[in-house]
Symmetry: C2
Subunit: 360 residues, 2 copies
């Protein structure tokens, strides 16, 4: 079975098992508390109903009114600051839901706004994250020189360690700040920052919801917006470093397979043409073919074997939807084989060009 299919099926099985395990653990952790809390709330509700003798209609009405008043409890949501906050939660896909469009026009605009904004934001965070990684790599290299270390190259492991520490540091800074401003415990504030910066955004904890904070506490509003955007950049930088290469594995494998098939077809065609009468060879034009045909000199063959390069597992060619179909790029980095050994007979089957053929 193709490698891409094996990889995909394994991932699906993996995720399915992960969901089953997660569900089982959440049941174990939450279900007793849920039952206890439900019983207690029922009891309190029953006491209040008995005390005030609500009619059924009035009780349902009261329930509805208090439920709908919930967003308003936190102040005005749809002035500029609140709308800007909401727009951030849309394009970053955090989506707390502390405020959501009430009108159908608002819902429609929200969908159009997200449709363009989300891909744009994804690209922006990856772009900024990559710049951040480059800057960190540069600084670490300078630090290593300043410390007088011989080897100043920064390995992937160094970068991953710095990435993990940055993410944890960002969460801790946010936790300290929000626990102070929102009067949450440190743990709850840390949980809020984690849920926000992973863009899950449950909405069980939402900053800027203490009465009129959005309107009256501008420094805190500014801090919250900057924290969310910077924090997402740090997470984006970490994802750029660690996860991004895995997102393109299948695409690269598919392109490599396509290149191999194209080269094999070209080689077969070239071999069949070699068996054709000699006078035809020089007159052929615009044939996609292996560059070594018809008859490479030994020197040329040796040289071409030196450039039998292939993308290594860490260097990938993402050609998703590549519109340049006439170059297949399969280059094997002969980084270990450093000896000039005797000429090998053929160029990598993966290297082919659209050229006019002419004897070398």
């Amino acid at each position: 079975m193709k490698k891409q299919n094996v990889r995909t099926l394994s991932l699906i099985l993996c995720i399915f098992s992960y969901l089953l395990v997660g569900a089982a653990v959440f049941v174990a952790l939450e279900s007793d508390t849920e039952s206890a809390r439900k019983r207690m709330l029922e009891q309190k509700r029953a006491e209040l109903r008995r005390k005030y003798r609500f009619t059924d209609g009035d009780y349902l009405e009261l329930e509805r009114v208090l439920r709908q008043a919930e967003p308003h409890r936190a102040g005005t949501q749809w002035r500029f600051a609140g709308s800007f906050y909401f727009a951030i939660t849309v394009i970053t896909t955090i989506g707390y839901g502390h405020a959501a469009p009430g009108t159908d026009a608002g819902k429609l605009f929200c969908m159009l706004y997200a449709g363009l904004g989300i891909p744009l934001t994804l690209v922006m965070f990856q772009s900024l994250g990559e710049r951040m990684n480059t800057g960190v790599r540069f600084l670490l290299s300078r630090m290593k020189s300043a410390l007088g270390l011989q080897r100043t190259e920064i390995s992937t492991q160094n970068m991953v360690l710095v990435g993990v520490l940055s993410c944890l540091g960002t969460l801790c800074v946010g936790a300290a700040a929000f626990s102070h401003f929102e009067s949450w415990t440190f743990f709850h504030a840390y949980y809020y920052c984690f849920i926000t910066l992973t863009t899950i955004g449950f909405g069980d904890f939402v900053a800027l919801q203490k009465k009129e904070d959005l309107q009256e506490n501008q420094p805190y509003v500014l801090f919250s917006f900057i924290y969310i955007l910077l924090g997402l950049t740090v997470i984006g930088a970490f994802l750029n470093l660690v996860v991004l290469r895995f997102l393109t594995l299948n695409t690269e494998d598919e392109k490599r397979d396509a290149a191999e098939r194209a080269s094999q077809r070209a080689s077969l065609r070239a071999s069949s043409q070699r068996r054709a009468p000699a006078f035809r060879r020089d007159s052929q034009t615009h044939s996609r073919t292996n560059l070594l045909s018809p008859q490479p000199t030994p020197h040329l063959r040796w040289f071409c074997s030196r450039i039998h390069l292939e993308h290594t597992s860490a260097c990938r060619n993402t050609c998703a939807g590549c519109s340049v179909s006439s170059v297949s790029c399969r280059i094997h980095a002969d980084t270990n084989n450093t000896a000039f050994s005797s000429p090998r007979s053929t160029l990598s089957a993966g290297l082919s060009f659209t050229t006019r053929r002419k004897s070398l």
Copy 2:
């Protein structure tokens, strides 16, 4: 200024402007309705308070009880089906918040669960999305053959069109189903599907929250889970096709720049060695150098100019954190220049290898 920095700064400005525009539009669409609704709810609340003469304490207690009872209104959340549903909303980052961990242990496990689950899920959806794109490309190609068309290649534009139609189709199927099962309008159901499949997940509309659906309506529960996961795959496939290549632009440019700098250093070193006494040249080993030095033959020079390949804008090399530093891969696809013109004098400066040097 470097291309990567220009690109990143432009994206930041772009997003910031996008947020400002979005905020302004949301204010215009929502703020009047918010004020009107707030006034109406205040009025109703005041009427009920006057009718039942709540004490302040009792009223606050009633408000708190009804707010906390909200998740329970929708039935039991933390049995297996509900926990599985919750686990899906965590690792896909939808995060409705209709249910959220109440215990600190649940919150802690949620963070650990998301920390591993989210990257795994990202990779899985991209992987599956790529397989889907490949399958669709194959089917379309077969359809073109079956229709007797001469050109059976599927262009990027074909795939993007199919992608857009698939996304819209998925949303419409979901909208039809959920409007039926949840008694929502088609528009609200479509909005729910959109907010879910973009992983925003406000939680203003959440499926499976009609009384005890999670426990009693297993076919509908199964449909909802499958719809969410398949729908995310379709969106993932579209992102894989359209957006993924842009996520790696900065990384590729950075690698290309690093390769150029390395080649330039190698060329400079090679030129300075050429000026050194002749007997030293053949004894040098393991020097990173341009393969054409010291003295390429005209045929070799011409050949090397043919392989002056460069990754085109559609074919990118993602080498984020690449640990193979000894090969720089700058190949310019000479796809337009198909003539075998006279030999050019030098190999692309971008092609260098770690080799033992020996006269050609």
